[in-house]
């Protein structure tokens, strides 16, 4: 069964620190890896995404690192801010399909 495992379940970071969330997948046929950010009472919103032919993608303070051989990808939030406090979901989309398979989520709290 295709799965995406996400860790940690929760994370507390001081303002200005680096938040790191990790995901691992078990099926090599995934070809798109988006990260979604969800605030309480809201639906998830796309934050950043990467394809497996790229090892890193940066957008502002957010960076995805992708390790194809290890089947792992991670989200780094630099200079974390209290406004970043939210739940983050990694996802993977099997090649040739449309079905987003989500990780279990990481609840991030950034202390002021």
């Amino acid at each position: 069964q295709q799965q995406v495992k996400q860790s940690p379940q929760s994370l507390i970071v001081q303002k200005g620190g680096i938040s790191i969330i990790n995901c691992a997948y078990e099926n090599t046929a995934f070809d798109y890896f988006p990260w979604y950010q969800q605030f309480p009472g809201k639906g998830p919103a796309l934050l950043i995404a990467i394809r497996p032919d790229v090892s890193e993608k940066k957008e502002g303070r957010f960076t995805i690192s992708f390790n194809k051989s290890a089947k792992q990808f991670s989200l780094h939030i630099m200079d974390s801010q209290p406004g970043d406090s939210a739940t983050y979901f990694c996802a993977a989309i099997p090649k040739g399909t449309y079905k987003y398979i989500f990780g279990t989520g990481t609840r991030l709290k950034v202390l002021a």
Partner: protein, 115 residues
């Protein structure tokens, strides 16, 4: 509106009753998805529509769950004879084509509570 709209935002129902959840996708989006989010859990895929057809219903938990989409637009998720384990936030998303690498836009969800 410009986003995915879901109604109602909250629904409390008695065990055994039927409920209907509605999703209005972004205009022009051909793909529509239903996901379920239980407390503290990830996003569980339920069903995917391409136009009015549903090529993948594999995530529907039981035959009490059904969904339809009409006019390539509005979708309704129906849960019959609701059970307490059906309590969750039901999220709808839409995307332009439904192919990989196309951003899925989510609605705010319907919080269903079965008492």
């Amino acid at each position: 509106g410009a986003g995915v709209s879901q109604s109602p935002s909250n629904k409390v129902t008695e065990k055994g009753k039927d409920v209907e959840l509605r999703c209005d996708p972004i205009s022009g989006h051909t793909a529509l998805y239903w996901y379920r989010q239980s407390l503290g859990q990830g996003l569980e895929f339920l069903i995917y529509f391409q136009g009015n057809s549903a090529p993948d219903k594999s995530g529907l938990p039981s035959d009490r769950f059904s969904a339809e989409r009409t006019g390539g637009s509005v979708s309704t998720l129906t849960i019959q004879r609701t059970q307490q384990e059906d309590s969750a936030v039901y999220l709808c998303a839409s995307s332009y084509q439904g192919f990989p690498n196309t951003e899925a836009f989510f609605g705010q969800g319907t919080r269903l509570t079965v008492v």
